[in-house]
C-alpha cells in the first residue's frame, strides 16, 4: 500500500451525536443544527471559530449549502461529500487531511441523514437514469449470500451459523439497550431472532440495521494544539480508504466469505499506525454491522479472528461488552440505527466515549492497558464495496 498516513498529526477535540431514531418532528436542518451546536458548545467554540467544514450526506442534501444555510455560516468553505454508507467517515477523513496539510487550524465534519421522510421502508437510493440493466437486489439479500458460502467453506451447519449471526444481533441489542441515543433499546435473544420470518435468504428483519434519522459532528485540530481545547483529545493514528473495482461480481473465484476492500483498508490502517497485531493493542472497535453476517466477516477481515474462526469467537463471547475485544459497544448500526451520512461519525463518537472513560457505567468496557480504538465503516455490497478504517488513540506515539 502506498499511503504515508498522518499518524499523530491531527486530533479530535470534540464530537457530538443526536439521538438516532424516527425524528418525525425534525428536519435534516434541525438535526444538523443539533449535532453541530452540541459539538461546538462542548469546547466553547462558535461557527466562526471553525475554518472549514465538510458535510456528509448520502441523499439528504446537495452541495455545501446543506450545512452553510441552516447554520448561517459566514464566508466559510463547506464541502459536501458522499461515499455510500461510509459518507460520515469520509467527511471526517477529508477534514483531517485539511488540518494535517496546514491549510486550516480547525475543521469540522458533520454527517446527517433524513431517511424517514420518504414514506417507504428501508433505505432507497436516489434513482439515476440508466438503461435498466442494473441489479435491483436489496442490500439485505446481497449480504445474505454470505451465510451459505461461509457455512460451506468452513463446514458449519447452516442453521448453526444462522444462530451465530443472530448472537451478533443479540449482543448489539444488549449494548444498544444501554445507550440512550440508540434507536432500538430492547434486548432480544438470538432464539427470538431465529424464529422470525426470513426477509432475505435466512436473514430476518432483526438481522438488518435500524433505519433512522440522525446527525453527528466532530472537530479536528492540529495535534500540537489539541490540549488547548481539551484535556483528553483523541489522536488520529490512521485513516484508510479502499474503493473496490467490482471484481467480486464477475470473478468466479470470489466466494462471499471475505470483503477484500475491508481487508485491504485494515492492512493499510495497521501499517499507518504501526500495528503488528491488532488484538494486542486495540481496546474496542466500532464496525459496520449493516447486517449480522457483515460483522462476522469483518472480525476476520480486520484481523480480530483467524480465518474460519470468527463464528466460534462470536460464540465464546470474545466481542461482547465485557469480552476480550468489545465490538459495537453502542449497539452498532443494528441497534443504534443507521442514518447513512451520520453513522461514520457516530462510530467515532463511541470511541471517544469509551477511550476517554466517559461511556455510561452500564456499558463501559473493562479497564485495559490498550489505548486504541478502531472504526470500520463500509458502503456497498459484497463484491462491490468501499471501505474505511480509522484508528484513534489517547496518547501521542
Amino acid at each position: 500500500m502506498a499511503s504515508n498516513g498522518i499518524k499523530d498529526k491531527v486530533a479530535i477535540i470534540s464530537i457530538g451525536c443526536t439521538p438516532f431514531k424516527e425524528h418525525w418532528d425534525k428536519s435534516a436542518d434541525d438535526l444538523l443544527i443539533d449535532a453541530t451546536t452540541q459539538t461546538l458548545r462542548a469546547v466553547d467554540m462558535t461557527t466562526d471559530d471553525i475554518d472549514a467544514y465538510w458535510v456528509g450526506t448520502a441523499q439528504s442534501g446537495m452541495s455545501g449549502l446543506t450545512l452553510s444555510m441552516p447554520m448561517k455560516l459566514h464566508g466559510k468553505p463547506v464541502t459536501r461529500v458522499e461515499n455510500y454508507c461510509a459518507t460520515g467517515s469520509e467527511a471526517l477523513r477529508q477534514a483531517c487531511y485539511a488540518v494535517a496539510s496546514g491549510a486550516y487550524d480547525t475543521a469540522m465534519a458533520v454527517g446527517v441523514e433524513k431517511v424517514k421522510d420518504s414514506g417507504y421502508q428501508g433505505l432507497n437510493a436516489f434513482p439515476m437514469p440508466t438503461a435498466g440493466t442494473n441489479r435491483t437486489l436489496t442490500a439485505a439479500a446481497m449480504y445474505s449470500l454470505v451465510l451459505p458460502a461461509y457455512a460451506k467453506k468452513y463446514g458449519i451447519d447452516e442453521d448453526e451459523l444462522r444462530m451465530v449471526v443472530a448472537k451478533i444481533a443479540e449482543k448489539n441489542h444488549y449494548n444498544g439497550a444501554r445507550n440512550e441515543l440508540a434507536q432500538f433499546r430492547r434486548e432480544i435473544s438470538a432464539e427470538e431472532i431465529c424464529n422470525m420470518a426470513a426477509v432475505a435468504g435466512k436473514l430476518s428483519i432483526f438481522d438488518c440495521a435500524g433505519v433512522a434519522d440522525g446527525a453527528a459532528a466532530v472537530i479536528v485540530v492540529p495535534a500540537e494544539k489539541a490540549y488547548e481545547y481539551t484535556d483528553k483529545p483523541l489522536f488520529v493514528k490512521a485513516l484508510s480508504f479502499v474503493s473496490g473495482n467490482g471484481s467480486g461480481l464477475i470473478d468466479p473465484e470470489y466466494d462471499y466469505t471475505t470483503f477484500p476492500e475491508c481487508e485491504a483498508a485494515a492492512t493499510d490502517a495497521y501499517q499507518q499506525a504501526g500495528i503488528d497485531n491488532p488484538q494486542d493493542c486495540i481496546a474496542m472497535a466500532e464496525v459496520h454491522d449493516c447486517f449480522t453476517p457483515t460483522e462476522l466477516i469483518l472480525m476476520e477481515d480486520l484481523g480480530f479472528s483467524q480465518r474460519g474462526e470468527g463464528w466460534s469467537d462470536v460464540l465464546t463471547g470474545k466481542f461482547a461488552l465485557t469480552g476480550e475485544l468489545p465490538i459495537n459497544t453502542d449497539g452498532g448500526l443494528k441497534s443504534f440505527g443507521h442514518p447513512v451520512g451520520a453513522s461514520g461519525i457516530r462510530m467515532h463518537y463511541e470511541c471517544w466515549l469509551q477511550l476517554r472513560g466517559e461511556a455510561p457505567e452500564n456499558r463501559k468496557i473493562p479497564d485495559t492497558d490498550k489505548n486504541l480504538g478502531l472504526v470500520h465503516n463500509l458502503g456497498g455490497y459484497p463484491g462491490e464495496m468501499v471501505s474505511f478504517v480509522s484508528i484513534l488513540g489517547t496518547e501521542i506515539g
Partner: protein, 467 residues
C-alpha cells in the same frame, strides 16, 4: 421452392388448470389447462424466445425481414419488432415490421410471406384473456411461434407452399376497442351463418390454386375463435381433421393460433403429406402445404407441454391485472433512459458481455477496461452470452425488493465457459432453486415505468432439449 425453412414454438412455463376457475366461482365445467405468460413476459419476449431457437440453431440464418404479429402489442406507434430484432442481434439492414391488432394478422402475415420473394422471419405471439369466468379467459392460451419463410430445395424445407385462397367479407364477429381489455362478440348463430358460404368458396378455390383434389389432402387444420364455425366447417371440408392437443393443454393463442396449430401438425406429419391450414377470422384464409422433410424440430411442442408448473388462479388474475394486490412498500422503479438504453443495447438486448483480449476474463456487464492488468486498454472483445449455460453458485430469496411477483429469487451464476453474474432466476419457485442448478439466459420484461418497458435478461432453469 418456397415454403417454411424452419419453425419453432415457445410456450410459457406456467399452466392454469381450468377447473381452478370453475372451483373459484363454484359453477361450470372445465377440463384441461391453458398456458400463461409469466408476470415478466409479454408478446415481445415470448416472440423472441420462439425466434431465438431457429436463429441460434442455424447460426447463419439471416432473414431479410422480421415481421411481428400479435393482438396484444406492448407498444402502439413504436415498432415492437425492433426489440426482437435487437435481441436476436440481426443486422441493421434486416427490416423489422409489426403486423398487429387483428387476429387475422397472423395467418395474413404467413400468406404474405409465402407469396413474397424475400427470406422472412415471422414471429407471432399472443397473450389471451377475458373477464374472469369468461370462455375467452378459460379457453385462451399464451404462446409464440416463429417461422423462417424462404426459397430452398425441398430437402431443406420443412414444408413447401402449394397454394391457397382468401374470402374477405365485412361482418361483425368479435371486436375490442384499442383501450379495452376485453373482447365482445356477436351471437354465434349469426356468425356461423356468415362464415359457411365463405368456407365453401375458399376451399374450392384453394384446391384449384394448388392443383389438388380434396382427397389429395391428408390433414386439415381449423383455426379460429368460434368452435361452432369449426364444427360446421368439418361438414364442408371432409378431410381428416388434425387431432391436436393444443386446445386442451395450451388454449387458443389468438393471432398466433394458426401458426401454432400448423407447427404442431408439421411435428406429427410425414414427408409427402399435404396439410391444409384454414383460418376463420373475419373471413376465411386457406393455405396448403406439402411436408418436405423430416428435419428435427427444435424443442417440440410436445416437450414444452410436459415441462410446466401449475399456477394458481389468484396469481393468474394478479398477473393479468384483473385483481389489484398490495404493492411492496418500496418506490416503484423509474423509467429507463432512452440514450443509456441505446448505448448499452448490445448488453441490454443481446446479452453481449466483454472479454479481456489477453486474459479472456469475461466482464458482465461489459466493461471498457479490464480488471485483469494483462489486458490492453480499450481492447476488450465482444462475448456472446445469450446461448451460454451456467450453474447456480449460490442464491438468495429477496422478500424486500420491488417486484410484480415477490419474492425475487436471485442467484450468482457461473457460466460453464466463463463469466459470472448475480442475476434473477425466473420461472422457478423459491423452494425449487438449489446450488448447482443448470440455468440459461432468458429475455424478459423487468418492469414498465412511464409506459416504457424495461427489457433485459434473467436466467431460468434449463428445461429445454439443451439439457
Amino acid at each position: 421452392m418456397r415454403g417454411i425453412v424452419k419453425s419453432s414454438a415457445y410456450l410459457p412455463h406456467y399452466r392454469l388448470n381450468r377447473i381452478d376457475i370453475t372451483a373459484f366461482f363454484g359453477s361450470g365445467k372445465a377440463s384441461g389447462t391453458r398456458s400463461v405468460a409469466a408476470h415478466d413476459e409479454d408478446t415481445v419476449t415470448m416472440g423472441f424466445e420462439a425466434a431465438r431457437m431457429i436463429v441460434s440453431v442455424e447460426g447463419k440464418i439471416q432473414p431479410e425481414a422480421l415481421w411481428f404479429t400479435t393482438s396484444e402489442p406492448p407498444y402502439m406507434e413504436k415498432t415492437n419488432a425492433n426489440v426482437i430484432h435487437s435481441a436476436l442481434q440481426l443486422p441493421k439492414a434486416t427490416s423489422a415490421y409489426d403486423f398487429n391488432g387483428a387476429l387475422k394478422s397472423g395467418i395474413g402475415a404467413i400468406k404474405t410471406a409465402l407469396t413474397s420473394n424475400q427470406t422472412i422471419l415471422l414471429v407471432q405471439s399472443d397473450i389471451r384473456g377475458g373477464l374472469p369466468s369468461s370462455p375467452d379467459e378459460s379457453q385462451g392460451g399464451d404462446a409464440a411461434v416463429a417461422f423462417l419463410i424462404g426459397d430452398a430445395n425441398a430437402d431443406q424445407l420443412l414444408a413447401s407452399y402449394l397454394g391457397g385462397s382468401s374470402e374477405t367479407l365485412e361482418f361483425i364477429d368479435r371486436w375490442r376497442n384499442p383501450r379495452e381489455k376485453v373482447t365482445k362478440q356477436w351471437e354465434s348463430r349469426f356468425v356461423e351463418d356468415a362464415y359457411l358460404p365463405l368456407i365453401r368458396g375458399a376451399w374450392t378455390e384453394a384446391l384449384a390454386n394448388s392443383s389438388l383434389k380434396e382427397s389429395d389432402v391428408d390433414t386439415v387444420i381449423f383455426s379460429g375463435q368460434n368452435d361452432r364455425v369449426k364444427r360446421q366447417a368439418a361438414k364442408i371440408i371432409t378431410t381428416e381433421r388434425f387431432q391436436d392437443n393444443v386446445a386442451s393443454n395450451i388454449g387458443n393463442a389468438g393471432a398466433a393460433e394458426a401458426g401454432l396449430l400448423l407447427l404442431s401438425a408439421l411435428e406429427h406429419a410425414h414427408v409427402g403429406q399435404k396439410v391444409a391450414l384454414c383460418s376463420f377470422n373475419d373471413g376465411v384464409e386457406i393455405l396448403i402445404f406439402e411436408v418436405a422433410s423430416d428435419n428435427e424440430v427444435v424443442n417440440p411442442i410436445e416437450h414444452q407441454i410436459k415441462n410446466r408448473s401449475d399456477l394458481s388462479y389468484g396469481k393468474f388474475l394478479q398477473w393479468r391485472e384483473m385483481l389489484p394486490v398490495q404493492p411492496p412498500n418500496r418506490p416503484a422503479p423509474s423509467r429507463i433512459s432512452a440514450s443509456a438504453s441505446k448505448r448499452e443495447s448490445d448488453w441490454k438486448h443481446g446479452f453481449i458481455a466483454s472479454r479481456g483480449d489477453q486474459s479472456g476474463l469475461i466482464h458482465m456487464p461489459p466493461s471498457r477496461l479490464s480488471i485483469d492488468e494483462t489486458d490492453n486498454d480499450d481492447a476488450m472483445l465482444m462475448q456472446l452470452m445469450a446461448e451460454s449455460v451456467g450453474k447456480v453458485a449460490t442464491f438468495t430469496v429477496d422478500h424486500l425488493v420491488y417486484s410484480q411477483n415477490p419474492p425475487v429469487v436471485f442467484a450468482v451464476v457461473d457460466f460453464n465457459n466463463g463469466g459470472r453474474i448475480p442475476i434473477e432466476i425466473t420461472d422457478v419457485g423459491d423452494n425449487e432453486v438449489e446450488i448447482g442448478m443448470n440455468v440459461e439466459p432468458t429475455f424478459r420484461k423487468l418492469f414498465t415505468a412511464d409506459g416504457l418497458h424495461n427489457y433485459f435478461w434473467k436466467v431460468r432453469p434449463i428445461r429445454s432439449t439443451k439439457e
